[in-house]
C-alpha cells in the first residue's frame, strides 16, 4: 500500500512546494526557488481575489440551499410518510447519485438553455429562465450534491424518538417550534456532515461552471486554465480549497460531526 500513499501524499506535498516556485514568462518552464509571488498575486490581483471569494460564496449558497431543502424533506420522510412512501423516497433521493456527474450537469444545461424547457415553462407567466450564469450554477451544484445532505439528515431524523415530539407537543409547542427547538439541535451533526461534502465538492468544481456557469469564473476554472501555462500559480490556487476545507474539517471535528461520516 505504501507506493500509493507515498505517491498521493508526496504529490500533495510537492503541490505545496510548487506553489512557491515561479514560471519563466517566455518559455513557460517552471523555475524552482522560493517566492511568495503566486500567493501575493492571488491576494492582490482583484480578479483572482474576487474569483476566490465568489467560489467560497457559491459553495456556501449551495450548502445553504441543500440544507433548506433537506430539512422539510427529511421531516416528511421520517415522521409523516407511510413506510412504503418512505422507502420509495429513500431510493428516490439516492438513485440519481448513480446517474453520472456529467449526465446531471448535461441535464441542467438542457433545462437552462435559451428557448429550453425552463423558458418554455416560464414564458406563459411572463418570465424568462435565468440562462447560464451564477444562479444556474448554484442550482446545478445543489442538484449534484443534494443526496450527500439529504441522506444524513433523513437518517438523523429517523433516529429521533417519536415521544420527544409528543412530549414537545404536550408541553404546548406547535409544529414549527418543535422542529426548531427539539429536532434542529439533534440534527446539527448531520447537517455538518452533509455540508462537508456539499461545500467541499462545490469549492472544487469547474466542469459544471464551464457548462452552466456562463461567464462565471471559479477557482477550478482558473486552476484548469493555468495548469499548463503556469503550474506554480495553479498549484497556489489549488491550496486555497485545501486550506478552506482543512479549516472546515477542523471545525467540524470539534462539533463531533466526523463520527457521523
Amino acid at each position: 500500500m505504501a507506493w500509493l500513499g507515498v505517491l498521493y501524499i508526496g504529490s500533495l506535498v510537492l503541490l505545496f512546494i510548487t506553489a512557491f516556485w515561479s514560471t519563466d514568462p517566455f518559455t513557460s518552464k517552471v523555475i524552482p526557488g522560493f517566492t511568495l509571488e503566486n500567493f501575493r498575486e492571488i491576494l492582490t490581483v482583484p480578479a483572482y481575489q474576487q474569483t476566490a471569494l465568489r467560489t467560497v460564496g457559491i459553495a456556501l449558497a449551495v450548502t445553504a440551499l441543500c440544507a433548506l431543502l433537506a430539512l422539510p424533506l427529511g421531516l416528511y420522510m421520517a415522521k409523516i410518510a407511510s413506510p412504503r412512501m418512505r422507502a420509495v423516497l429513500a431510493i428516490g433521493i439516492t438513485l440519481p447519485l448513480w446517474a453520472g456527474y456529467l449526465v446531471k450537469v448535461f441535464s441542467w444545461r438542457i433545462t437552462f438553455m435559451t428557448g429550453g424547457p425552463l423558458d418554455w415553462l416560464l414564458t406563459p407567466l411572463g418570465l424568462n429562465g435565468p440562462g447560464y450564469g451564477t444562479a444556474a450554477l448554484v442550482v446545478t451544484l445543489s442538484y449534484l450534491w443534494f443526496p450527500y445532505m439529504a441522506v444524513p439528515v433523513y437518517a438523523a431524523f429517523r433516529q429521533i424518538p417519536d415521544n420527544l415530539f409528543d412530549a414537545s407537543a404536550d408541553l404546548g409547542a406547535k409544529g414549527w417550534t418543535t422542529v426548531r427547538t427539539v429536532a434542529l439541535p439533534l440534527l446539527k451533526p448531520a447537517f455538518i456532515a452533509g455540508s462537508i461534502f456539499t461545500f467541499s465538492l462545490s469549492l472544487g468544481d469547474y466542469i459544471a461552471a464551464q457548462f452552466v456557469g456562463g461567464t462565471t469564473q471559479v477557482i477550478g476554472t482558473v486552476i484548469a486554465s493555468n495548469i499548463n501555462l503556469n503550474p506554480p500559480l495553479a498549484a497556489a490556487f489549488a491550496t486555497v480549497p485545501v486550506v478552506v476545507v482543512v479549516a472546515y474539517l477542523f471545525l467540524a471535528r470539534k462539533s463531533g460531526a466526523l463520527q457521523q461520516l
Binding site: L73, S107, Y143, P241
Partner: protein
Amino acid sequence: MTLSRPAKVLLRVFAGLVMAAIYLPLLLVILNSFNATTSGAFPISDFTTRWWVAAWHNEGVRAALWTSIQVATIATVIALVLGTMIAFALSRYAFFGKNVVNLLVVLPIALPGIVTGVALNNTFKTVLEPLGIGLGLFSVIVGHATFCVVMVFNNVQARLGRMNRGLEEAAMDMGANLPRTFIDVTFPGFRSAFIGGGLLAFALSFDEIVVTTFTAPPGTETLPIWIFNNMSRPNQAPVVNVIAAVLIIVSMIPVYLSQRLTGDDKR
C-alpha cells in the same frame, strides 16, 4: 408527530416537488435523445431513433467505453486489496500515528477532486516523467485508485468494527490456521461490505472526470472525457444525448433492482 393538516399537506407537496426536480431533468435528457432536430429547442416536435443508431456505430464512444472499463476494473481491484488491508490495519491493530493514517485515507474524498488531479499532474510531469513514467493509462489508474481505496476502506472498516471477534478465536481454538480462519470465518463476515465497496468504487471510477482530465495524456479518453469533449460540439450533440440517456438507464436500473431485492427501507 403532531402537525396541523395543512402543514402535512404542504410537506407532502414539497416532497413531491423535490422528487420532480430530481427526475424531470433526467427525463428531459432521455426525451431529448429522440429529438429529430439538433437545435434542442423546446417543446420537441419531431421524434426519431436515428441518433440511437448513430451512437451505436460511433467508434469514439466504443473506444472510450473500453478505456473506462479497463481503468475502472484495475482501479477497483487495487482498491479492494489496499482498502481492505488498511481497514484491517486500522481496526485490528493499534500503532503509532494511527489517527494520522485514518485522516490521510479519508483526505482524497474530503479534498476537491481538482486538488488531487492537479497534485498528481504536477508530480507526474515534474518528477516521474524524467524517470520515464509520463502521463498514461497508468497515471489515470493511480488517480482513480486514490479515491476508490477510500470507498472500500470505509465500507469494510465499518463492518469490521461490528464483527464478532469471538468467532475467529473460536475457529482458531478448534484448530483452524490463520488462512483457514480468514477464508471460512473472517471473509464471509465482511463479504457484502467488500462487494458493496467494490461496486461503489467501480461506479465512481466509471463516472470520474476531474481527476481524469488532469492525469490522462492527450488522446486518451474515458467515457466521461468523451462526453465532456463532445458536449459543446454541435454536430456531436445528438450522440451525446443518446449516451447520456443510456447512462441514466443503465446506471439506475440495477441499483433500483438491488435496493428492491435487499428489502425496503433498512435504515
